[in-house]
């Protein structure tokens, strides 16, 4: 045990490990809060679809040589809003639209990477799809961007907490009460886009929906008020991600997969507790 702590101490003396932890905590906090809203609004699959869109956008950016975040952020947020519009107007069935968009973006991105190969194409795919080690290669600018975006997302959730509850619980009632539900739906979609682009760094495109959905589902096993579910989901998300990050650093495992497996274990434990406590 003392040996383990000594090893961790050594790692913490490295700036890149501290960067990874700071970014990891902030990203998971946002993902945990967002997850509750997405699960309850039945938007879970939107998170999955958007992550593939973000991958496609980053692939395009890599081929063209632009900054990946600068391309992925607006494209993902834009797609989120479009998806919402398409499913609201009933032109395409929501889940079909998402499946189409996600597979389409994934294939376009992957095809582009193969048509215009560069030295690190293989590494790029692994990084953006599975987030294998990208958390440990964050630059100071990355971390700063992370902090700013995460702060914006947190302010959104705190300031609009009661309104988010209202549109999630009963949209029609809220609209009848003078709340512009549509505006909040778009804000939630936009925030999803931001969180997904951020979370790609932590777990990669293919595993994002797990990071967003698992903590919310775990929290909903045991807690039965909106506020306690929100708080618990955020806490689980942060704890699971920090644990996953540390383990991946200690044992050299891929960060994204480690984090998601930890969340899977937490979900299992909470489900077992639910049975034991008969809640």
């Amino acid at each position: 045990m003392t040996e383990l702590i000594a090893t961790l101490k050594t790692y913490f003396s490295y700036g890149f490990v501290r960067n990874a932890l700071v970014a990891g905590v902030l990203i998971s906090l946002c993902a945990g809060l967002l997850g509750v809203t997405l699960v309850l609004k039945r938007y879970s699959m939107i998170g999955d679809g958007l992550s593939h869109v973000a991958f496609g956008a980053m692939a395009v950016a890599a081929v063209v040589g632009w900054a990946p975040m600068a391309v992925a952020l607006p494209v993902t947020v834009g797609s989120a809003v479009l998806l919402l519009l398409a499913s609201e107007r009933g032109k395409i069935k929501g889940d079909a639209a998402i499946a189409m968009l996600s597979a389409g973006a994934l294939s376009v991105g992957y095809l582009l990477l193969n048509l215009f190969p560069s030295a690190n194409t293989g590494k790029f795919s692994e990084e953006t799809l599975f987030g294998s080690t990208s958390m440990l290669t964050l630059t100071g600018v990355d971390v700063l961007l992370c902090v700013l975006l995460a702060a914006a997302v947190l302010v959104f959730f705190i300031f609009f907490y009661h309104r988010i509850f209202a549109v999630t619980f009963d949209e029609r009632f809220s609209t009848a009460n003078g709340l512009r539900s549509q505006v909040y739906n778009f804000l939630i979609a936009a925030v999803s886009g931001v969180v997904i682009v951020l979370a790609m760094k932590l777990v990669g495109a293919l595993l994002i929906s797990a990071l967003i959905i698992f903590p919310a589902l775990s929290a909903m096993r045991l807690f039965r008020s909106f506020r306690s579910v929100m708080i618990c989901s955020a806490a689980i998300s942060v704890a699971g991600s920090v644990l996953g990050l540390l383990l991946s650093v200690l044992y050299g495992t891929p960060t994204g997969a480690t984090v998601v497996v930890i969340h899977l274990v937490i979900f299992g434990v909470f489900s077992a507790l639910k049975v034991v406590m008969k809640r």
């Binding site: 009661h162 509850f165 029609r172 009632f173 009848a176 009460n177 003078g178 909106f226």
Partner: protein, 263 residues
């Protein structure tokens, strides 16, 4: 064909429908509807399925466009807002929300630009829960309650939102006879003047909450309401309960009421 705020409505009139038409995709299901709701009224909207009762309610709430005519609202009604008890939607049934959270969300309109609820809103939430006798359920999960209890929670939420008027879309659908009686009693209680018990921030409600209810239960409508709007093709009627009982439809249902009273 619009909603307007009309400050020249006669004193006491909250809402007036003038030649209102409603429909879906260009096909009118209701035409030439005229009605008036005054402060303290208890209006029941009755009629067959598909006659446009719920659609009219949505139009009043601004959730459905009018295809003709005007809905005039008094500035007072605009300012204080309306509470709404929707027909229950299945999506809510597995939602983790405590009773207090659900009731409190009825105070949303009072938030304005504030992020959090203040003391007045918390008092109003408590008052609404006390009025509907659900204070002991405050920390329970909404989804674990019985149908009747859930309906009371939603009514308490609508009560919080009802600055001046409460709109109820089939509030007794799916309830057992006992819960039904409870519900009618509580709605009637809200409709009564509450001058003896001034609520925080609701002094303007001295004459009670104005009730507009969609219902299939005509005998109860005749028993509790002050006004009836009967919708259904050619036989649209609007007037007091007394006048309604003189119409052919009204007489038909009056017979029902007597039958009910007899047993």
């Amino acid at each position: 064909m619009k909603h307007i705020t009309n400050s020249t409505l006669p004193a006491g009139v909250l809402l007036r429908g003038v030649d209102v038409s409603l429909g879906y995709e260009g096909r009118d299901i209701v035409k030439g509807l005229n009605f008036t709701v005054s402060d303290g009224d208890y209006l029941c909207i009755v009629g067959e399925n598909g006659s446009g009762k719920s659609t009219l309610m949505k139009a009043i709430l601004g959730l459905h466009p009018l295809s003709g005519g005007t809905l005039e609202m008094s500035p007072e009604l605009r300012r204080y807002g309306m509470g709404y008890l929707p027909q229950q939607t299945p999506a809510q049934k597995d939602f983790p929300a405590s009773v207090r959270e659900v009731v409190q969300s009825g105070c949303l309109r009072r938030l304005g630009w504030k992020p959090f609820f203040g003391r007045t809103e918390k008092q109003l939430t408590n008052e609404a829960m006390a009025r509907l006798d659900i204070t002991h359920l405050a920390d329970r999960c909404y989804r674990d309650l019985s149908g009747g209890q859930q309906q009371r929670v939603l009514l308490a939420r609508a009560y919080c939102a009802a600055g001046k008027m409460i709109l109820l879309d089939e509030p007794i659908a799916g309830l057992d006879p006992l819960a039904m009686q409870d519900m009618y009693g509580m709605i009637a209680g809200m409709n009564k003047p509450v001058a003896d018990r001034p609520m925080p921030g609701r002094q303007h409600l001295g004459s009670g909450v104005t009730v507009v209810m969609v219902s299939h239960d005509v005998p109860a409508a005749v028993k509790y309401a002050t006004h009836i709007l009967h919708m259904g093709g050619e036989t649209t009627f609007f007037g007091t309960v007394g006048d309604y009982l003189k119409t052919p439809e009204g007489r038909l249902f009056a017979g029902c009421t007597e039958g009910k009273d007899g047993d």
